[in-house]
Amino acid sequence: MTGPAADSPQDLTAAYALGALPPEEARRFEAFLATSAEARREVEEYREVAALLALAGAEPGSEAGPTLRDRVLARVADEKRRSPAGPVRPVATPRQSSAVWVALAASLLLALGLGAGLASARGRLAAVEAELAGRQAALARSQQQLAERQATLDAILEPGVQMFQLTSSGDPEPGIQLFWDRQRQLAIVHGYRLKPVPAGKAYQLWFIRDGAPVPSVTFKPGAAGGATVEAIPVPEGGAISAAAVTVEPEAGSAQPTSPIVMVGPLKRS
């Protein structure tokens, strides 16, 4: 049997993502790729498949040595020292300050508003300013949230902090990430895409110690289903095997009064 004279580009998507095209054919395919968003999506998806194939490479007993992590960090620290400016950074585009915009809008409106138009221009200017104030407030709120998120991220990047995932059975979302700082015996809980709770109720976290639930904090999701609680004491004495979440009265319960909605193992590495 003979192959077709020429492959249609679509036929090459999987081979390209797998790295199985010779260089010149790969370049031709890339030219096609530039013209087709659908093909790009498909390549991205096949790349995810290829990334999973990496896992199939593992052979029993083949594990990196215990010093590799430290060597990686030493190498990165070394690169950082050699180029203290840090990694390549994208060029920041300076943002025009909003005061400039107000001034511009004002001068423009004043110029347009000669004579009889001036009063209505003033009215429009007031509307623009009100709109701007609203946007600035929203910007300040989101900057505040971003700063909080950055601060939390800072805390979870500390050495010795391990991440655990709590999931709801059969549903990839919502989820909770639990970061356990074993040095200080503190945890950070970060929930995302959480379902709203009924009035008067809240989510409650439980640590499972020696097979029994130990009550911990309660929290409510924000408008978009996010919730972050920091500095949660982890119960001492005994073996902590898991964390779970139930829906309880706002004040919290001493024992769970409803079924578990999310759970995840907290195994020691």
Binding site: A20, L55, L68, R149, A224, G226, T228, S269
Partner: protein, 201 residues
Amino acid sequence: MADAAAGAAPFGDGELVARAAQGDERAIGRLYDRYGAVLYAVAYRIVGQRADAEEVVLETLAQAWREASRFEAGRGSVAGWLTMMARSRALDLVRSRSRRDRITAMAAADRPGASPAMGEVRPDPSGALEHEERRRQVRQALDTLSPPQRRAIELAYFEGLSQSEIAERLQEPLGTVKTRVRLGMQKLRECLRPFYFERGT
């Protein structure tokens, strides 16, 4: 809204890469905790021995550090980006090694540095569990392929052979190999879609 952007998303790989791009090297440590085992697995399968596989992981994360700001969130997962770098570094190493070996005509003696495994690794425990489940799924998915399909895909991914080189190696017509790669990858995609690594965004 802001809440959606900052409040209701998991702390993810994309944020770690962004952190690295800002010069925070702890983020690379965390990426190692999550994906060191995956990178080591693909590197080991390609280079076949421990010291070189570790070198590949080291070089890959150093490259990730240098190029963190070029990572395009939304164009695929961080895991995909990292494994692609590790695979190509490992293949480069094998190619340069075979050149080197031809020159020195060395026997396939075990090389210094390839000491047997000892001590414990410290992977992110949840990551390890996740990888274990994914690994099982990948193996199951590979088992659904016909042996020739599987062979063609493995030769492409782990040995870096082009489709024509695979055809030559297996003494099969090129068209047959192309069909196997395409159908095999389609099948893997169907099986593995729920198990992709976390997206970069």
